[in-house]
Amino acid sequence: MATTTATITMSSTDLLSDELALSTTATLTTAGTSTGLTGTAGLARKTVSGSHAQYTLFDGSDYTADKAHKLYLKNTSTTAAEYFLITVNAEDVGRLYAGDWALIPWSAHDNDCDIKIDPSANDMTLEYMLLTDD
């Protein structure tokens, strides 16, 4: 079986009066099991050319519902004010500003549960990878 791990490390020496250090690793498995995820939509890079508009990154109807999919996103922009607004099923999740990344669990619970991105400027580039539980 494939083994996919995701490690996050967060640190700050001056956010609190004491040092913040957090690190944890998850082995990404299929829903409710210890079996590793075996599918991926690949590591990809998308530049939204021309005038900016909302763009469907993943269509909920293409993936098995109520599973343990994981989505990695990174905004490669170096212009601080530029962000991608991330929506799931038409709900605004958040703004991914320049250099920011995210790891989002996605259940694709019905056909409307699309993941969409809306860049705040023209010609912005997003890196992404979907690890699928099919």
Partner: protein
């Protein structure tokens, strides 16, 4: 300003060659490189199966660059929490899973709700933000 960094590494052997992806970001306030996120909430809760719970009690300032980390510390892989934003199901965090997402809190209904399934789930969370509307006493 506070400097908080968040780094991720994804590794896998699910392809014919090994894969490793890494990224790191400094958590900044919206649209700036000069000022880092300087406020946070950090908590640990145990949530009984079937219980729905708003994990963030106060309302952070809307449409900023807030970041939300949640980890399910349950060791039973059949346990999970459903993460719901403004009544829309986003995904499920099974035992051992974590997530790190931008959080918009775009209006008063944009709560982050989690519902536990399988048993009592042990949840750790941290919200990095620019300010909240505190609940009056």
């Amino acid at each position: 300003m506070a400097t908080t960094t968040a780094a991720v590494t994804l590794t896998s052997d699910l392809l014919s060659d090994n894969m490793s992806v890494s990224a790191s970001t400094t958590c900044m306030k919206a649209g700036t490189t000069a000022d880092g996120l300087d406020q946070m909430e950090y908590g640990y809760v145990e949530i009984a199966s079937g219980t729905a719970y708003d994990i963030i009690g106060n309302t952070p300032t809307a449409s900023k660059a807030s970041k939300l980390y949640i980890k399910n510390h349950s060791t039973d892989e059949t346990y999970y929490i459903s993460v719901v934003l403004d009544a829309q199901a986003i995904g499920k965090l099974y035992g051992g899973d974590w997530m790190f997402i931008p959080a918009d809190f775009h209006d008063a209904n944009a709560d982050v709700e989690i519902t536990a399934t399988g048993g009592t789930n042990k949840i750790c969370y941290a919200l990095f933000h620019e300010g909240t509307t505190l609940v009056a006493s």
